[in-house]
């Protein structure tokens, strides 16, 4: 009974459910924006890197390495509390989107690039020998194969980084964790945190299952 009272208190649940629902919506759209921006930027960077020009490769590799090395929380705090000193004031959600999609882009670039380098040279030669341009060969032949190779690590990374929207709680973004932890302080009950955990499961468990489908859809024997 004490367990249920602590983690699944009905009255507390009813009281904070509306707040939590709007927080879920916030987490969802933040995640969606971060995914789209991060993955497309990562893909674009990997494509630029495939051109093999040092003046493109150098900054891309630097961006990917730094983006993967820095803890996102540090960057979020610097952007949120440091940039106003330069006269640049960004809202909490803007900082979260900027930093997390940047971090996702850094990882995605490396994953797409690893996929591109794993495509056999003969695939490029077959494309070019049939008169396809570099860009056509990249988009029609090399990238689809690179993306297929990259899907499992990409899905893992995308999930890990969208879950980091919880870091928004330290800069006042009204996403699931911040709403439920303030509800926890007000109510003195752990129930809102349970609700947060359930909400995260409701969002990310289907995403994990969807990714399994995706992996199967994109697999073909080589």
């Amino acid at each position: 009974m004490r367990f249920l009272e602590t983690f699944f208190n009905g009255a507390v649940m009813a009281k904070y459910l509306p707040d939590l629902l709007s927080a879920i919506v916030t987490t969802l759209w933040l995640s969606a924006v971060i995914l789209v921006l991060g993955l497309s930027l990562g893909l674009a960077l990997a494509c630029l890197r495939s051109l093999g020009r040092w003046y493109l490769t150098l900054p891309i590799v630097a961006f990917a390495d730094i983006g993967r090395a820095l803890p996102p929380l540090v960057v979020i705090l610097i952007f949120y509390f440091g940039l106003p000193g330069l006269g640049i004031s960004l809202s909490g959600p803007a900082v979260l989107i900027l930093v997390l999609s940047g971090v996702l882009a850094a990882f995605a670039e490396e994953i797409f690039w690893a996929g591109l380098t794993a495509v056999p040279k003969g695939q490029w030669e077959a494309g070019r020998a049939t008169g396809l341009s570099f860009a056509r060969t990249l988009f029609e032949i090399a990238l689809p194969q690179a993306i297929r190779l990259g899907i499992p690590p990409l899905v893992n990374r995308a999930l890990a980084i969208t879950k980091m929207t919880a870091l928004g709680s330290v800069i006042g973004v009204k996403e699931i964790l911040s709403v439920s932890s303030s509800a926890q302080s007000f109510s003195g009950s752990a129930t809102p945190l349970t609700m947060a955990a359930l909400a995260y499961l409701a969002i990310f468990l289907p995403a994990v299952l969807l990714s399994r489908l995706l992996e199967r859809r994109y697999s073909w024997a080589v």
Binding site: P120, G122, Q123, E125, A126, G127, R128, A129, T130, G131, L132, S133, R136, E140, I141, P144, Q145, R148, W220, A221, V222
Partner: protein, 256 residues
């Protein structure tokens, strides 16, 4: 009335003083070779003799260090960018490793360059692809994925993919070397059929039996130079140079 001037047929493929260096290594030392329209020229030679490099220079997968290559009188070696892509449409190439696109069906493999490089309308590209697939005896595999095919079937699809672009010349880079022995025949059969239809072909291969019966001319390369060239009867029946003699002896010993 003036007498008609003698007909000088223009070679379909003309290689002039072709040189290729990788760093300090000279792989090709001034190669001259002409392939007449409808001719099947067979290139033999020990591994490392530069024959594959020579073939790959013909469509600039390998960049020549010096020399010129002409296709039907047009410079291949001067082409840049989009002009080179257009030139490559006229030069079909078949690789030792097939290199079919694993994420596309057989039909899409044969259609891709028709659509994206030749800019053929889809219906026309599909009709042409099916025609070429029937030509190599694989129309019934149009919807299969490459991984579902045997090596010999994959190589025939690769030949169809090249032919669908209506090339003026076909380059074959050891087309049967990666195949199980029992599958070699099906690919050679398609090549013989092509030859009989008048396709101009330059073939690098170790299939001496096929060279003997199907080639118009055999070129023996060694150490980056053409050592001897002539009709198959002469090359195999009456080799002049010591290098060719010892090469043929080694090959026939290996085949026993």
């Amino acid at each position: 009335m003036t007498a008609p001037s003698p007909v000088h047929q223009r070679p379909m493929l003309e290689i002039n003083r072709l040189e290729k260096r990788f760093g300090d290594t000279e792989v090709l030392k001034s190669i001259d070779l002409r392939v007449q329209p409808g001719e099947l020229v067979f290139v033999i030679g020990p591994s490392g003799s530069g024959k594959s490099t020579m073939l790959r220079c013909c469509n600039r997968l390998e960049e020549p260090s010096a020399g010129t290559i002409l296709l039907d009188g047009e410079h291949v070696t001067d082409c840049r960018g989009a002009a080179l892509d257009r030139m490559r449409l006229k030069i079909g190439m078949v690789f030792q490793g097939f290199h079919l696109y694993p994420h596309k069906s057989v039909l899409d493999n044969v259609m891709l360059a028709q659509l994206r490089a030749l800019k053929r309308p889809k219906a026309e590209a599909k009709a042409r692809a099916m025609e070429m697939l029937s030509h190599v005896g694989l129309a019934h595999k149009a919807d299969a994925m490459p991984s579902e095919l045997s090596g010999g079937q994959q190589q025939r699809v690769a030949i169809a993919r090249a032919l669908a672009l209506d090339p003026k010349v076909m380059l074959f880079d050891e087309p049967t070397s990666a195949l199980d022995p029992e599958l070699v025949g099906s690919v050679l059969k398609v090549m013989r059929q092509l030859r009989d239809e008048g396709m101009t072909m330059l073939v690098v291969s170790h299939e001496m039996g096929f060279a003997r019966e199907a080639a118009d001319r055999v070129v023996f390369m060694d150490g980056g130079v053409v050592v001897e060239a002539g009709p198959p009867e002469a090359i195999f029946g009456n080799p002049q140079s010591d290098r060719l003699k010892s090469f043929l002896a080694r090959v026939s010993k290996a085949e026993e």
